[in-house]
């Protein structure tokens, strides 16, 4: 995911979330609309079922009045009569549904000698016929229409049956027992039965159409299917045999609800015609039969399914559209970004003239582009400046190099400096901190036996210090003579340096003049470190001279000259503060004490070895810390008339 682009991430996350929202809304919508639809369908189906039931009941209740009336009449009249005959005939004529009326007496109920006796009215070619004691009913005592009514002592509807004519006319008989009074007590006398054609009932029920293929059917109180669009099922199957055939226990349960006279609304999943069905049922109270209306779920859901298809289509198209838009937006962001990134890569390689892509928008990307453009310009300017500066610095560097060569050239480098002199030995070294140092040393004879030696330290470093050093050295060299004492020389040089010294530069300086015959040294110190005197037995003495002001600071400063005798074998050591102030990593200074102990340690070596030893000691002390100041040492060993030891 991290490696994928912004466009991918944007579209992936946004589309996922939107799809999730869409699916939730879609599911909820489907669930909810289905629920509403089922609820409505249930109401309509129940209503519709009840309405059909009522229509059937209206006819049935009018039919049942006939045998009920006849039975009442029989009980009242106690006997069959001509009046009853005419009543039967007229009711037959007035009730087209009634195809026959039977008045059946109990065994020997009509006459002492007659086991069976019936009056049977039937219709034949529109005429009403009466058959007394007809053969049709000879065994009627065990027939359902007689027996059930008798045993239950109440009016009952028989199970439907096909008419005796062998036709396909479905019939049912409504039987009503009638009673007589025998010695004061009510006694069962027989049964009045009306044979009713159920053709009208089948017509009403089969006329029911629900949705496309929904239909209604009627079952009796034993579950027998009485009407159905499939004629093969009628009277052959019961709702329970269908349930058994399909192995559907739910249908069996619902069937039991039906024959118990309950009403309901149930859902069936397959296997009937491979569909899911809804079934609504309600009982016909008078007969105990049950009317069922069924309709397939897919037809009920047709509108929802159509709606859902549309919603789904809109949703998916929307998602696709959204995808396209996101990709376009993301591209519009990332295309200039990747173009910018490519250009920046080019710029990074130093190609500062690389052309930025044209970005017209004023958004973040536009601003980024402007910033890069600005950066590019700044970088260019910077590089131009840098190049110029570098060139300048290079020139200065090379000039400094030259200056160093000149400066080093000024200082005496040839040792031994006076090989023909045996009274002393002199050595000097300088280690500039930067290319051009501010330290100076010099030694020369002012006449044939007076040696002048100078060590100085110009405040500051670099070119100005070097110039100052050169000026100072030249001035001293010009003034030093036997005529002038060191203090006079320094006073003159001081005044010359102080004059027009706007930059307030100054020089600490020690000047000594040694009479090589006597070992007497006159000296003057202008603010410089005290020299050390090392005796042959290793005693190191710091010569505390009178300290004057460094040169170049105060005009007409009164310098004074000191005097010291160098006994033969003694070493006179001068140095600049680059030695004693050399620092180590712990911010400690090398210090005069270390110089002293080094000098004591190295006393028997040659003077060059002594300076080298001190230098090594300083370097060891500073442990690679960069040298911050020039290091200069001037060393002289006085022999007088002694043999030179080195």
């Amino acid at each position: 995911m991290k490696t994928r682009g912004i466009a991918f991430r944007l579209s992936f996350f946004i589309l996922s979330v939107v799809a999730l929202i869409f699916v939730s809304v879609f599911s909820y919508n489907y669930y909810f609309s289905r629920r509403i639809l089922i609820k409505n369908a249930e109401q309509i189906a129940r209503h519709f079922t009840l309405e059909t039931v009522n229509r059937l009941e209206t006819v049935l209740s009018s039919v049942v009045k006939v045998p009920l009336g006849l039975s009442s009449f029989l009980e009242y009249a106690q006997y069959y009569s001509e009046t009853l005959n005419s009543i039967c005939r007229s009711t037959m004529a007035n009730n087209p549904e009634i195809s026959g009326i039977t008045i059946a007496f109990k065994p020997f109920g009509y006459a002492q000698e007659k086991l069976y006796h019936t009056f049977y009215y039937s219709k034949k070619d529109g005429e009403i016929e009466l058959l007394e004691e007809g053969s049709r009913v000879s065994h009627y005592f065990t027939l359902d229409w007689y027996q059930i009514s008798k045993e239950l002592n109440r009016a009952v509807w028989s199970e439907p049956y096909y008419d005796a004519g062998g036709g396909n006319m479905l019939m049912a008989t409504y039987s009503v027992p009638f009673y007589g009074t025998q010695s004061g007590a009510s006694e069962f006398m027989g049964v009045v039965a009306a044979d009713v054609s159920l053709t009208w009932l089948q017509d009403i029920v089969s006329a029911v159409k629900i949705l496309e293929t929904g239909y209604a059917f009627l079952i009796t109180n034993t579950g027998t299917i009485v009407t159905h669009f499939d004629r093969d099922v009628i009277m052959n199957e019961t709702i329970f045999s269908v349930a058994e055939a399909f192995g559907d226990t739910h249908l069996r349960e619902v069937g039991k609800m039906m024959i118990r006279g309950e009403s309901g609304f149930e859902y069936f999943k397959g296997p009937y015609a491979g569909k899911d069905w809804w079934i609504s049922f309600a009982p016909l109270k008078s007969s105990g039969w049950s009317l069922c209306t069924v309709f397939p779920d897919d037809e009920l859901m047709a509108d929802v399914i159509r709606l859902n298809r549309t919603v789904l289509f809109i949703g998916i198209s929307g998602l696709f559209g959204l995808f396209v838009i996101i990709v376009l937006i993301a591209r519009s962001i990332t295309r200039p970004l990747s173009a910018l990134s490519k250009v920046t890569e080019t710029i990074a390689t130093g190609e500062l003239d690389a052309q930025l892509p044209a970005i017209k928008t004023r958004d973040e990307v536009g601003r980024l582009s402007e910033s890069i453009e600005h950066m590019k310009t700044s970088l260019k300017q910077y590089i131009v400046d840098l190049t110029r500066e570098c060139a300048m610095r290079e020139r200065i560097e090379s000039e400094l190099q030259i200056a160093r060569q000149i400066q080093m050239g000024i200082l005496k480098k040839t040792f031994p400096a006076f090989p023909d002199r045996s009274a002393f030995d002199i050595f000097a070294m300088i280690e500039p901190a930067r290319e051009v140092g501010g330290d100076l040393y010099d030694f020369f004879f002012v006449d044939d036996h007076n040696l002048c030696m100078v060590i100085g330290d110009v405040a500051g470093k670099g070119i100005p210090a070097a110039l100052m050093m050169a000026v100072t050295r030249t001035l001293i060299k010009a003034r030093a003579s036997t005529v002038l004492s060191p203090d006079e020389v320094l006073s003159i040089v001081n005044n010359e340096l102080a004059e027009d010294n706007d930059s307030a530069m100054f020089v600490t300086l020690f000047m000594g003049v040694l009479d090589t015959h006597t070992g007497e040294m006159t000296y003057c110190n202008a603010g410089h470190n005290y020299p050390f005197l090392v005796s042959p037995n290793g005693e190191v003495t710091e010569i505390e001279t009178r300290n004057g002001m460094p040169l170049g600071l105060v005009e007409d400063f009164p310098y004074e000259t000191g005097k010291i005798m160098l006994p033969p074998g003694n070493i006179f050591y001068l140095y600049t503060d680059g030695v004693n102030e050399a620092m180590n990593a712990h911010d400690e200074q090398f210090s005069e004490d270390r110089i002293q102990s080094d000098l004591a340690r190295l006393k028997n070596n040659s003077i060059r070895q002594i300076t080298d030893g001190v230098m090594d000691s300083v370097k060891a002390f500073s442990q690679g810390m960069p040298q911050s100041d020039d290091i200069t040492m001037l060393i002289l060993k006085y022999y007088g008339n002694m043999e030179k030891t080195h």
Binding site: L143, E151, L152, T222, T224, I239, F240, S241, E244
Partner: protein
């Protein structure tokens, strides 16, 4: 050339003689009647008929379907049917009454006869039947209920039971007579669950009588034993085919029922055939396949005499003629 012609003619005559023999000329006409509706209870006979097994055995058979309105016993007696099915008890009764009937094959070895009560009527044990209204079929189907009630000294109120179970279903009687292979399943298919019913199988109360068997008159057997044997063999073949191909057999039965406008459905007929197979082939009870067991015969006779259905009982060998090859 000439001799060849004669030879050909001779062969053709011989062949045609043989053909007529197999087809019709020498097919013996016979009639058969079942003692009840053309249900799967008689599937073997109808299958044998439809599959041409009777013709194969040289019989041009006419089947007279049984009905509640006509009795196979009367048809046999009156010579309107050469062969009939009857319960053993009916056969014994007829013989006892002087009609010389013989059993030439026993189909149902174990009894499927029972009484059923709804548990809601409070009948759970045999003694609960006392003083209840019990629907009983007419003789000889009331024999065993009577024997049972006598055995347990139970007085009941007998209500004649018709061909339908509606009186029982509506609560007009507490108990009904039933065959396990027929009425019991009809009750299940009328919305009663088996756990709502208390069944009493007569075979569980020492009254396991052999039931459906093939009967003919003794005269017929004497005059044409080959026909009788052929009929029995064809029928038995039919039964074995039906048991082996129940769907086929049920199709045949269903077609008959449809044509006769008798209400019926496949699941019921299939159930019936399954039970018939069980009662016929499972010889744990009375006897071996197709034969009348002497034990079952004696048991039946004994109960009949005890109840007083008959005064004297026929001899086993008098009633039963084993025609098996």
């Amino acid at each position: 050339m000439r001799s060849l012609k004669i030879g050909t003619v001779l062969i053709l005559v011989l062949i045609s003689l043989g053909l007529t023999d197999a087809r019709g000329k020498s097919l013996k006409k016979a009639s058969f009647m079942t003692h009840w509706l053309p249900h799967a209870q008689f599937a073997g006979f109808y299958v044998a008929y439809e599959k041409g097994l009777y013709k194969k055995h040289g019989i041009d058979l006419t089947i007279i379907p049984g009905s509640p309105n006509r009795s196979s016993y009367e048809y046999l007696r009156d010579g309107k049917a050469d062969f009939v099915t009857l319960w053993l008890s009916s056969g014994i009764k007829m013989r006892a009454e002087g009609l010389k009937v013989v059993n030439i094959s026993q189909i149902v070895q174990r009894s499927g006869f029972m009484l059923i009560a709804k548990k809601t009527s409070g009948i759970n044990t045999i003694l609960d039947i006392r003083n209840k209204k019990v629907g009983l079929w007419a003789a000889p189907f009331d024999l065993r209920p009577m024997a049972l009630f006598l055995k347990y000294d139970i007085k009941v109120k007998v209500v004649p039971q018709s061909a339908s179970l509606n009186l029982f279903l509506r609560g007009g009687v507490h108990m009904a007579s039933a065959m396990y292979y027929n009425e019991y399943h009809t009750l299940l298919n009328s919305g009663l669950d088996s756990h709502e019913l208390t069944p009493f199988f007569f075979r569980d109360y020492g009254l396991d009588f052999p039931e459906d068997g093939i009967y003919t008159l003794e005269d017929r057997l004497t005059s044409d034993p080959d026909l009788c044997r052929a009929f029995v063999n064809a029928s038995q073949e039919g039964w074995l085919y039906a048991f082996a191909n129940p769907d086929d057999a049920v199709d045949i039965v269903m077609k008959l029922l449809r044509d006769a406008h008798i209400p019926a459905n496949r699941v019921h007929q299939k159930w019936m055939l399954e039970q018939m197979r069980d009662l016929t082939l499972r010889d744990t009870g009375s006897g071996p396949l197709w034969k009348l067991s002497k034990e079952g015969f004696i048991r039946t006779c004994g109960e009949m005499k005890r109840i007083g259905f008959v005064e004297r009982v026929p001899d086993y060998n008098e009633l039963y003629k084993d025609l098996s090859r």
